[in-house]
Amino acid sequence: MNKKIAIIDYGVGNLYSVKKALDKFSGNVFITEEPEKLLSADAIILPGVGSFQAGIEGLRIRNLIQPVKKFASTGKPILGICLGAQLLLSKGYEFGTFNGLGIIPGKVIRFPELKERIPHIGWNGIQRSNPGIENQKLKVNAWKGTILNSVKEDSDVYFVHSYMLRPDKKGDVLAVTKYGDYEFCSTIRKNNIYGCQFHPEKSGDVGLKIIENFIKLI
């Protein structure tokens, strides 16, 4: 495949892991922090290991905020991973209040007080969000044609986070996950823009399938 896939280096990502997962399915994956290269790509990945503040600041000082927003408006696919997914939302509340990219309306908030240990670290299942009994048909097909296409319901993927995605619109919730009794959003989606709270590049075969699906969108 000759489609160009850019992994954005904004100073806080686990770039190597992401790249090697993508390399499995595409021959034209590159890491960049240059706006022009970003804009010229056919798809971009926003990886993520770090704090919200560090993340948005990393984008800012590299003058990448506008280019990413511009890319989002083109309709070309974006995959945000973990912190990268969180940055897609409007606001983040880690170590203070910060503006995110606002590409998908919503906020990034800390887990509430749970019996369970925080950060949420480990393998947990992703499920289709439940739009109500009338929309069961919708539910069944909810993942078709998305990056979760043909992924088995409740497949285990790897999470490591203390803050979670809270998109404003129910429709932007593609997958949910249960931590103890608490259900939170584990994947967001708006058109071709996806954000996975979990790390597909670290989720074994299931994760590789999701990455393969993403590439197929290009």
Partner: protein, 252 residues
């Protein structure tokens, strides 16, 4: 439902994976990349790679080994050993690590935890504790690959580090390490009851039942082991199948 993780541990020394008893007598048991691939293929949930002589020899983790080891692995990797600066953490993450474990340097400079957690996010910073039982039924933390006493109470230190922002704890029982006589129940109980953050336990895994017992009684987030896997007592796949049959939430 969140699953408990089965985490094989690779103690790395130079180009080899080694294994000791009570953190001493490091015997060569294999090649890091080969073992990593084997365990990944066998269903490991995560890999723990510790350069256990980095602090002893005052040198750095060999990030080239990390890169090679991570090449064909698509599960999280935590590395540790000789991590002493923000730069070290950055290098580790860029070369394939997902989380970085710190012991010696953190005990000597606790503020470093705060700094690192702020920069990289707490979920990326793991506290590694090597604990040895005292006569007073408490545990003392050790450094430099289980060779130097610190006089610091291990559980108290864990609490402090949690308040400084560490995201996960790996606790190793020096008393049980390499002995295959079972995990250190009391130590595990001690840490899991006080920790609001995830805990991975290590040291003494003997048979499949020893994993089940700890998982069901103390609910740690991860069960780490080395000897039983390196010496082929049983495979990870069989272990997970056994745990699953015995109602332990595990990724199959």
């Amino acid at each position: 439902m969140k699953k408990v993780r089965i985490i094989p541990r690779l103690d790395i020394k130079g180009p080899n994976v080694v294994k000791g008893i009570h953190c001493e007598g490091l015997r060569i048991v294999g090649d890091p990349t080969e073992l990593a691939v084997k365990y990944y293929g066998d269903g490991a949930d995560e890999l723990l790679c510790m350069d256990i002589v980095a602090s002893l020899y005052q040198r750095n983790f060999d990030f080239n080994i990390l890169k090679s080891l991570a090449q064909n692995i698509f599960i999280p990797i935590t590395i540790g050993g000789g991590i002493r600066s923000i730069n070290d953490i950055n290098n580790a993450l860029r070369m394939g690590a997902d989380k970085v474990a710190i012991n010696t340097y953190a005990i000597k400079n606790p503020r470093f935890i705060k700094e690192a957690a702020k920069k990289f996010g707490c979920q990326c910073i793991v506290l590694s504790i090597e604990a040895k039982k005292n006569s007073a039924k408490t545990w003392e933390a050790y450094t430099d690959g289980g060779r130097e006493r610190t006089g610091v109470d291990a559980i108290k230190w864990a609490k402090k580090a949690i308040s400084l922002g560490v995201g996960e704890i790996i606790i190793t029982s020096i008393d049980n390490d390499g002995t295959k006589k079972g995990y250190d129940d009391e130590l595990i109980k001690g840490i899991t009851t006080i920790s609001p953050i995830p805990v991975i336990v290590h040291g003494g895994a003997s048979d499949m039942g020893s994993f089940r017992k700890v998982a069901q009684e103390y609910n740690p987030d991860g069960l780490s082991a080395a000897s039983v896997f390196h010496y082929n007592n049983f495979g990870i796949k069989d272990l997970k199948s056994y745990l699953n049959k015995n109602n332990v939430a595990i990724r199959i």
